[in-house]
């Protein structure tokens, strides 16, 4: 990879999900997930499931596993707060959960309303029995997601991969 051609980490995430045989892609959109969402939507073997709120995806992932399919939940950090009570089902039933979370409210944030939930995201996940990985280096994102998928689906635990604003770029609002 040359400096002029940044590493295509969303393609690496897609490849990791494909290799993990993920069939249902539940999401509330975020700009940081835009390219990954397009890649998944172009794959006929992946079912896109848009959600009205993120906790719906936690329940969908559980139902998919009951039916023998693997799912992933894509969301922004603000959605993590919406998931907390539903994550109790994941823990108590030992459902696998793989979620990829684009961060707001940290590095370079312009919108102060994003900051409280952004700061609370890793701790909230950990309190809800979710193992937290952070992928900051573009070249390491794919491996991190692949390892998180293996951990979740093979060991029946919940794993979140956080994608920080250093990776995805901070939203600037034109300022």
């Amino acid at each position: 990879m040359s400096a002029a051609q940044p590493h295509d980490w969303p393609a690496d995430i897609y490849a990791a999900l494909k290799a993990a045989q993920v069939k249902q892609v539940a999401y509330v959109p975020d700009a940081g997930h835009a390219r990954l969402l397009k890649l998944c939507a172009a794959d006929n073997a992946m079912r896109m499931v848009p959600l009205t709120t993120e906790e719906e995806g936690v329940a969908l992932v559980a139902g998919a596993w009951l039916g023998g399919e693997r799912a992933v939940l894509l969301m922004q950090s603000s959605g993590v707060g919406n998931c907390i009570n539903t994550l109790g089902m994941i823990a108590t039933c030992q459902f696998p959960l793989l979620t990829i979370v684009t961060m707001r409210g940290e590095f370079g944030e312009f919108n102060p309303w994003q900051v409280p939930m952004g700061i609370a995201t890793p701790g909230s996940l950990e309190l809800a029995n979710v193992i937290v990985h952070r992928a900051s280096e573009p070249a390491r994102v794919g491996d991190t997601v692949a390892g998180a998928a293996r951990l979740a689906f093979s060991s029946y635990v919940a794993v979140a991969v956080l994608l920080p604003q250093q990776l995805i770029g901070a939203k600037t609002f034109g300022k």
Binding site: K23, Q24, R47, V49, P50, L51, T52, T53, E55, E56, G57, V58, A59, L60, V61, A62, G63, A64, W65, L66, G67, G68, E69, A71, N85, T86, G88, M89, T92, C93, Q94, F95
Partner: protein, 198 residues
């Protein structure tokens, strides 16, 4: 309330689960859970003891994963009201093999029979219709309950039924509550013993 709600919840659930065969059932937190257990413990029932508002979406994930099996979500008005957006998300996917039945007693039965929004006229069937369910209805008669089961067998979903039941409290009949057991036995019954090796 302008009309009497007289259907017996246990009779409704017994009719929906009669000769259930390989029907997959998700039961929502609270009394629907006890109703389904009263109809007979079955490994192909996944009862939610928590995660209020999640029953419909667990059913959706299951229905998408198992398009050749019928999936029935049996929940209550209060549980469904906590996850109303689920109806919109189901409307996007439109799985023909999914039915969501809300046993509507217009009350939070587990916490002291406080009124839910449906007691004030909120129309769950109209909401489901607006979300794109293939068929959505308010049910006040047993004949319509039996027709719902037949329509699910015919894969005419997604189906929604707001079933107006009497606000009584039949004896507690509880399913197992160990979530890992419930999950694993469901998968073994549906996917075979090798599911544990997946």
């Amino acid at each position: 309330m302008s009309r009497a709600n007289t259907l017996d919840r246990r009779a409704v659930v017994a009719a929906l689960l009669a000769e259930r065969g390989d029907l997959l059932v998700v039961a929502g937190l609270g009394a629907p859970n006890w109703d389904v257990a009263a109809a007979g413990d079955n490994p192909l029932t996944f009862p939610l003891w928590g995660a209020m508002g999640s029953a419909a979406m667990v059913g959706l994930g299951l229905a998408l994963a198992q398009p050749r099996r019928d999936v029935l979500v049996l929940t209550g008005d209060g549980e469904l009201l906590m996850g109303l957006g689920s109806l919109a998300s189901i409307g996007v996917q439109r799985p023909a093999n999914l039915a969501v039945a809300a046993l509507d007693n217009e009350a939070y039965g587990e916490t002291g029979m406080q009124a839910t929004h449906t007691a004030h006229g909120v129309d769950l069937a109209a909401i489901a219709a607006g979300c794109g369910f293939a068929r959505s209805e308010t049910v006040r008669e047993m004949a319509a309950v039996e027709a719902l089961r037949a329509r699910l067998k015919a894969r005419q979903g997604p189906l929604f039924a707001q079933i107006k039941i009497a606000a009584d409290t039949p004896p507690l009949v509880m399913p197992p509550r160990d979530g890992t057991l419930l999950k694993n036995r469901f998968r073994a019954a549906l996917l075979g013993p090798d599911a544990a090796l997946a």
